[in-house]
């Protein structure tokens, strides 16, 4: 009796899975995402990338939560943050998480970039992933920078002021850049509105799809961490080449003579 019931429920489950697979392809997509082969030896190196993703997700989560209290006006921005820090439950934690994970994010993203650079992971066919990554680090930096200004306190305001002044030295269009950043030729309510629009709407809206592209490209070409992932295969290749150099090869002459050049094989 029990056996028959379990068998029937299992049958329904299988039918449902088949139906979902046929309609949406969700099962094979999940399998593709979960069972993609990754290099076991470098698994701790690749956590730099996933840690970056995690910290950015944390930024999105805590940032959205802070918006429940933050008031983006020059009169009230400071007070609303003071309220978050002193009155709201877990306000110190939520804002602290936003602040510290932003700092940690910049640090981890830097390590991620250095790792990618040193292992040559940007080489063909992964060039575009590097390019997208450079844009991502730029956007994250501007977001961190504009986040300070949203506090409308001394630290954040003067940092934004210095940054805006730096931009004013852009050749030919300096005055266009700084007035656009300030929302006028002085710093005031329009400045804060612009910083808010950048930090909360524009940059995240650009960042999120770019992260998607970054991940898509990663999955398209697979992870490439370092040559030590392939040391045994590379050793086998070297050994074969040595053998061929010593004894000569009948069937693979062309490849041995021109190990670095594949054009004639294609």
């Amino acid at each position: 009796m029990i056996a028959r019931t379990t068998a029937r429920i299992r049958g329904w489950g299988r039918d449902l899975m088949d139906w979902m697979e046929e309609r949406t392809g969700i099962v094979s997509l999940t399998e593709k995402l979960l069972y993609e082969p990754t290099p076991a030896r470098g698994r701790w190196l690749y956590t730099l990338g996933s840690a970056t993703l995690f910290l950015i997700t944390l930024q999105f989560l805590t940032g959205i939560l802070l918006l429940f209290y933050y008031v983006p006006t020059t009169d009230n921005a400071w007070d609303s943050i003071h309220y978050i820090m002193t009155q709201a439950y877990f306000g110190r934690l939520i804002r602290g998480m936003h602040f510290w994970s932003a700092n940690l994010l910049l640090f981890v993203i830097g390590l991620h970039m250095v790792r990618t650079f040193l292992s040559g992971s940007y080489k063909a066919p992964r060039e575009m992933n590097w390019v997208v990554g450079v844009f991502l680090i730029l956007i994250v930096t501007i977001m961190a920078f504009s986040g300070y200004a949203l506090r409308w306190d001394q630290e954040g305001f003067w940092a934004w002021e210095v940054g805006a002044m730096i931009s004013s030295y852009t050749p030919l269009i300096g005055s266009w850049v700084i007035t656009t950043l300030l929302g006028g030729d002085t710093a005031g309510p329009a400045t804060l509105s612009r910083v808010f629009a950048l930090h909360v709407w524009l940059l995240p809206a650009v960042l999120a799809p770019l992260i998607g592209v970054h991940l898509y490209l990663l999955r398209k070409h697979g992870e490439f961490g370092a040559t030590f992932e392939y040391s045994e295969r590379l050793a086998a290749l070297r050994k074969r080449r040595q053998m061929e150099e010593t004894f000569g090869s009948v069937e693979e002459d062309g490849q041995v003579a021109d190990a670095g050049d594949h054009s004639q094989e294609g």
């Binding site: 943050i81 602290g96 306190d153």
Partner: protein, 165 residues
Amino acid sequence: MVDIRYGPREPVEEGEVVTEENVFDHYDEPQGFFPGQVVADLTVSTFLLAIVVVLAYAVPAPLTEPMDISTTVYVPRPEWFFFFLDQWLLYFPGAALIAVGDVIIPGLFVILLLAIPWLDKEPAYSPARRPFVTVVGLLVITVIVLNMLLALLRIVNFTGGTPAG
């Protein structure tokens, strides 16, 4: 449906001929993304989350006095990730150089970063086997870190601006 292999794989299978073409086709030791990589990722992420939570309470996120555009005593300081740029600005004084140091060189640096995959044409991956790129890269990192430290020293040793008494 996609082919699924159960269990581990040999680096070089029986009878397989490793060539320049297929050497990077698969890793010596592949693992499924789940659970092997997921466990590692989750471990690091949770560790970072724990750090963030501890820091959030141990060192609360700063909120200095409300913005005051008329201040004469406040000492503005950049965030740590802009220390190197802050220091960098000191090397380019005067009308002719400010634009070069503040905007043009950083702009060119970004373009250089974007172009790295096309500038580095060496076929090798290992940093030891493409010394030029590695040395240039390490030099850039050294300059950034050095400038950061110089900025930090300058900030730590700064005594002016504190109101008297």
